[in-house]
């Protein structure tokens, strides 16, 4: 490994990052998750922690751009340079830039997340069968509204599971229209447009107006790439037009004809011969997670390595089940030292060393069943000393206390149990959680972290999805508490307000948000945990809780550690 001259590094461990814009290739929640996992690669082996900011200046400012993108090092179109980043320091130092002339995926081809429909945001399943035909891209077949859709299982006729594919007719991203879809035709600069355009911009991004007249309303958004969008060429982002003619022949799928490099391309109008409009077809693409993990290595102070299997090796290489190479770990720990906390990743079952000294008795549960017993790991944190838990909630009749990737269980007059690894029982959850609750009827468990949420049914998980999916405002930073009300409603708390979610429709009830003090007089307005336990409402602030009866009277103020049966 190499570090930068003078061992440039951050002089603090709580590093902040901010995502300035998104690529049209991936759903924002997938980009968010890829970056979060890329940071976790480094926080798993160092004392570093990474907090996402949504405004202002963060240590690591992340952005996508093309060719000349605002610094002295232009990108070079498709392939070649994928991204770059600057070593730690002020201003542009520490920032990471990704070339948006690349096709960003998770390394194995199109990642098409669906919207609406009945598949709750699941990914498209290609190929899928519909009315006797096989489809390997989204289709508008079977619909009159021209909205591209896909099945999320291999056979739509059998399962009936479907969702809508990213398209400018469904939503836009960034811009100033809160995701509203395009309005076609729209007027811009006196011209009429019936599709997305790059006119008026010098960064090559496709955009549209979200009202009929941009000149008057100035409302716009960026167009997400459809799954059939071309990459590069002279029509970046435009969907392939099938069939199209080329050199007098008709093509109904991508072809490498006419090219000596064998790359697949298509025309974006019905006649290449007439219009010469074309682009490359979607390939496996580059894993945003892997490239980001590499670039964040630079942003933390690592230079390139000459170990071919190291993450910090300069060339891109797709790896399915990624783990850091010893060389990367030595390099980053040379700068920041090891992770003093407990090992974050549960030991792999095949390499279990059941030595008497092993602090953790790792017995990984068989993934197919939801084991009833989880193995406590070496207590590194005394829960009785914790002054602020990430989450407190009742699950299967026991209070669960979550903190930094661990949880403890406690119920009245029973011995406290734990700590347990969150990742062992609920894999894919981030370390930092904000709140959770159990659906009293379905027993599904909802977890919230930042602007995302996960729904677990046993160990099956749906998510992460954006909390906007539930009808919460896009400006909400996090959900801090949850109170189940009856069998199908749950109150979700954030700041000084709360909303009511209908669990059946998965949508917010009308007439919300409401102010906490209008309904729950006498409890702190800045409670960071709100939960229901044995019919009482608990509002926590640091080590204290306020308990309220169902008649909304505060009948007790106590210490959270009492609930943990601490001595």
């Amino acid at each position: 490994y190499q570090t930068f001259d003078g061992d440039l590094k951050w002089d603090h461990n709580d590093v902040t990052y901010r995502i300035l814009n998104y690529s049209p290739d991936l759903d924002a929640s997938i980009t968010d998750d890829a970056f979060a996992r890329a940071f976790q690669v480094w926080s798993d082996v160092t004392p570093l922690s990474f907090t996402r900011l949504y405004e202002g200046t963060a240590d690591i400012m992340i952005s996508f751009g093309k060719k000349n993108h605002g610094d002295p090092y232009p990108f070079d179109g498709k392939d070649g340079l994928l991204a770059h980043a600057y070593p730690p320091g002020e201003g542009m130092q520490g920032d990471a830039h990704f070339d948006d002339d690349e096709y960003w995926t998770l390394g194995t081809g199109p990642v098409i997340k669906t919207y609406y429909g009945n598949a709750e945001g699941a990914m498209c399943k290609f190929p899928f069968r519909f009315e006797g035909k096989s489809y390997s891209t989204c289709t508008t077949e079977g619909r009159e509204d021209g909205l591209p859709w896909c099945a999320t299982t291999a056979d739509f006729g059998k399962d009936g599971k479907y969702g809508f594919c990213p398209s400018e007719l469904l939503f836009t991203y960034d811009g100033n229209s809160d995701g509203q879809p395009c309005v076609f035709p729209f007027v811009f600069d006196g011209q009429t447009y019936s599709s997305c355009t790059t006119e008026g911009r010098n960064d090559g991004y496709r955009w549209c107006a979200t009202t009929a007249n941009f000149d008057k309303d100035k409302k716009y958004g960026f167009c997400p790439n459809r799954d059939t969008a071309v990459i590069g060429g002279n029509s970046e982002g435009e969907p392939c037009q099938f069939p199209f003619t080329f050199l007098g022949k008709t093509y109904t799928s991508c072809t490498s004809e006419g090219r000596s490099d064998g790359k697949l391309w298509c025309a974006t109008t019905s006649s290449y011969d007439k219009d010469n409009k074309w682009g490359f077809c979607a390939d496996k693409g580059y894993s945003l997670f892997l490239v980001a993990a590499h670039e964040f290595g630079h942003a933390l102070g690592l230079d390139h390595s000459n170990i071919q299997d190291a993450l910090m090796y300069p060339m891109y290489k797709y790896v399915a089940d990624f783990s850091l190479n010893e060389d990367d770990i030595e390099g980053i720990q040379y700068l920041y030292g090891p992770n003093r906390g407990p090992k974050p990743t549960p030991p792999k079952p095949s390499t279990t060393t059941s030595s008497p000294v092993s602090t953790a008795k790792p017995t990984k549960p068989t993934p197919s069943t939801t084991p009833s017993v989880y193995t406590p790991v070496e207590p590194s944190v005394d829960p009785c000393q914790v002054d602020k838990f990430d989450v407190i909630t009742e699950i299967q009749g026991e209070l669960h206390f979550f903190k930094d990737g661990y949880y403890w269980k406690s119920s009245s007059n029973k011995e406290r149990k734990g700590p347990f690894m969150v990742s062992e029982r609920w894999p894919t959850l981030p370390v930092k959680l904000d709140t959770a609750f159990e659906d009293p009827v379905t027993k599904k468990i909802y977890f919230f972290a930042d602007t995302q949420f996960w729904v677990f049914t046993g160990q099956d998980v749906l998510g992460p999805r954006r909390i906007e999916k539930l009808g919460l405002p896009g400006t909400l930073k996090k959900v801090e508490g949850a109170l189940q009300r009856g069998n199908s409603k749950v109150l979700l708390f954030s700041g000084e307000e709360y909303w009511r979610l209908d669990l059946k429709t998965q949508q917010m009830d009308k007439g919300y948000p409401r102010h906490i003090d209008m309904t729950f007089g006498g409890v702190p307005m800045d409670a960071h945990d709100v939960f229901l336990y044995k019919g009482h409402f608990y509002f926590c602030r640091n080590i204290y809780y306020w308990r309220m009866t169902s008649r909304r009277q505060v009948d007790r103020v106590g210490y959270v550690y009492e609930l943990l049966n601490c001595p």
Partner: protein
């Protein structure tokens, strides 16, 4: 068997054909990623010979250090990669 159709190769408008010769590609690559410049003893930047620069690149990429622009080296230069220089001056 019919005679294979001779594929007709076109130049596509807007195609970033990097129609550089391998030699031009190598010179551009060695310069961009910091292999041509070195700091000499007195800290001044000096330009090294292409052969010496190639050897440094081959060492960095774990290739056989021939100092020649051989095929494995050309192939390595065409692979997608990070834009941060390998040799910092």
């Amino acid at each position: 068997w019919c005679h294979p159709v001779k594929s007709k190769f076109l130049t596509f408008p807007g195609d970033l054909i990097k129609n550089m010769t391998d030699k031009q590609l190598a010179e551009d690559y060695l310069k961009r990623f910091g292999y041509m410049q070195v700091l000499d003893k007195s800290g001044l930047q000096a330009t090294v010979s292409t052969s010496k620069a190639l050897k440094r690149l081959q060492n960095q990429l774990g290739l056989e250090e021939t100092g020649k622009l051989d095929q494995p080296t050309i192939d390595a230069m065409k692979k997608p990669r990070c834009g941060v220089p390998d040799v910092r001056n």
